[in-house]
Amino acid sequence: MAIDVNGKSLETDEEGYLADLSDWEPEVATVMAGIDDCDLTENHWEVINFLREYYEEYQIAPAVRVLTKAIGKKLGKDKGSSKYLYELYPYGPAKQACKYAGLPKPTGCV
């Protein structure tokens, strides 16, 4: 599979995750969200950027429990809840947001 971003064709796996992490640019998230009929707000971007920083630092896509805790620490308690994150990313914050952020599927997610 592949998606078209800024005139380039980027390879994805069968679940839509980017094949090569280094292909990512913000437009990738916008295009992927468009496929899911999702408009990215500032709150969405906050999570995407958080995930990219987390990956850079730990080389791992966090499990949802870990993500929720870490978001609460960084962005405030009200945002560190699964309710808030599921409202933003109904397909699951770890799965959907990680995908938009160009990360692999979280370890432990089948």
């Binding site: 630092e57 730990y58 791992i60 966090p62 429990r65 805790k69 770890a94 370890t107 432990g108 089948v110």
Partner: protein, 129 residues
């Protein structure tokens, strides 16, 4: 694993992962780390022990990008967030290799070789990598 539910039910067993090999020449270290992360997502009680060449897995300043491998040494620093807080390193293995606790990238508990048996005896399941 479902995203919205934590694993419930079943008894919590104590798992000890024994790491005995250098990190990049074989896939053992990475496989162990991934298994630990998955086990922790299932709410198991997980400890890790680093002996023999396994102590090199925690060496600071690894840069395997130079051989086009992922730098998963950074992931050991995420273990705390997964509630894997018990990392044990054998003192004799460090000393044999001219290393000390200061060379390691995470906080660990250094134990003597003769304390290893007691640690193993405290666990229900022992997996060696």
């Amino acid at each position: 694993m479902m995203e919205d539910e934590e694993y419930q039910g079943g008894e919590v067993k104590k798992f000890l992962y024994v790491n005995r090999r250098l990190p990049h020449g074989t896939v053992y270290a990475l496989e162990s780390l991934e298994t630990v992360l998955i086990g922790a997502a299932f709410d198991q009680d997980v400890s890790m022990l680093f002996i023999d060449d396994g102590v090199y897995q925690l060496k600071k300043d690894q840069a395997p990008e130079s051989i086009e491998f992922k730098n998963f040494s950074k992931t050991y620093r995420a273990l705390e967030m997964y509630d894997v807080e018990k990392l044990f390193v054998e003192r004799e293995s460090l000393e044999e290799r001219g290393l000390s606790e200061d060379d390691l990238l995470v906080d660990v508990e250094v134990i003597a070789s003769k304390e290893v048996k007691a640690l193993i005896d405290q666990n229900d399941v022992v997996l060696s990598f």
